[in-house]
Symmetry: C2
Subunit: 219 residues, 2 copies
DNA sequence: CAGCGGATCAACCGAAAGGTTGACTGCGGC
DNA sequence: GCCGCAGTCAACCTTTCGGTTGATCCGCTG
């Protein structure tokens, strides 16, 4: 009999307990192991692989306080041989989170506030080699392929990061060895792409979409 | 046999399942009921009270997507007769969150990444009429009573939060029904206390010191 | 090669923000 | 009752920022 075996990866004991209780309550799903961050997940995966017990799906949180984050871990897992499918289960549904996860090779993207039945479906689908996307994630990906020209250039992201640290235009200019005029030009472009009209709104928008890390983010 | 009876309030089914599994696994703790937001919690509380089964403690998340938020719900619960103690269990430990919760009458402030044993202790302590604070929450409150002059006033924190959402001075003024001049006065004070000289730097500093949550962070 | 987009810079102007001074109210403590 | 502090507002000035126009340079691509 073929049970779907899941590797849980989440840094919150409470969430792990919830998933464990919820998933083991379903027919045909079992927990193979648990890990509290990406690095631990890779260790578990190596251990299980050595035993010939590769899990059928990895259920992974994206935000994990101290250890390796979910996107990095997903990319690492996808490099393995064999590489179990990774289903992202997270709290946020921001553009960059979703895109980063998909680019890293995730088989699905679900939100933690999803009803249990949806979660069950997603786990089974991912384990079977399919995909499982939350509505907003699906919508975003559709939108991306229809008009891809909206994203920020690497240079713009770099200036955005400096902006978020609280530097003035002049200070940013000095930092990257360009003129203040150029900084202003870049900012105008950034504001246009983000749909805002000042620097604080740009920081808020860029943080929300996970284009940049929150100012003073730890880790 | 006096079991401690808990009312769970969290908008995530997964988290509720986790807390349910974790707490019922402990001796002397039982789940009285569950609710997915503040309003539902008040309903449950009314229902239980009518049955003469008032819970011994309310375990409440602060960030809840759609319904009444945790701070408002806590304040409402504390107005009841009888008013069960409210233990906050949340993901973030920013000054603004902690102070708001304590001012609303919470008996404790714990983080979701706390180990199960700590959680158990906190629930029991709160139920017994005591308090339970995460280390950072305790440190913050100690700091508040020792040197209250250095820290930001509630009003200043409020403006800081609006600032971080990307609003202009005029927009902030309209939001809180004061003049633009007053906003500027507050900002000057804020800059002085944070040791910065512009709004983006204020956001960065306030985020770093956990006075406010990162711009765009959502529950 | 012509065209496009990214990156660079200048000059300019109006709008917003930063900073200062001063003043008034209301509340709590000594 | 007086003092200090938080909160409110006005007037004024300087600096910074936002937005526009226009330009050069470079690398890639059809």
């Amino acid at each position: 009999m073929s049970e779907v075996r899941v590797l849980l990866v989440d840094d919150h004991p409470v969430v792990r307990a919830g998933l464990r209780a919820m998933l083991t309550g379903f027919e045909g799903i079992a927990i193979a192991a648990e890990a509290s961050d990406g690095r631990a997940a890779l260790h578990e995966l190596a251990r299980l692989t050595a035993l010939g017990e590769v899990p059928d799906v990895v259920l992974m949180d994206l935000q994990m306080g101290d250890g390796m984050d979910g996107v990095t871990a997903t990319a690492e897992i996808r490099k393995l041989q064999p590489a179990p499918p990774v289903l992202i289960l997270t709290t946020y549904d921001t553009d960059a989170d979703i895109l980063a996860a998909v680019e890293a090779g995730a088989s699905g993207y679900m939100l933690k506030d999803a009803p249990p039945e949806q979660l069950r479906q997603a786990v089974l689908q991912a384990a079977a080699g399919g995909t499982a996307l939350a509505p907003r994630a699906a919508a975003l990906l559709m939108d991306r392929i229809s008009n891809p020209g909206t994203s920020l250039t690497p240079r713009e992201v770099q200036l955005l990061e400096l902006l978020a640290t609280g530097l003035s235009n002049r200070a940013i200019a000095r930092q990257v060895f360009i003129s203040e005029a150029t900084v202003k030009t870049h900012l105008v472009h950034i504001y246009g792409k983000l749909g805002v009209d000042n620097r604080t709104a740009a920081i808020a928008a860029a943080t929300q979409r996970r284009i940049i890390r929150p100012p003073g983010a730890r880790g």
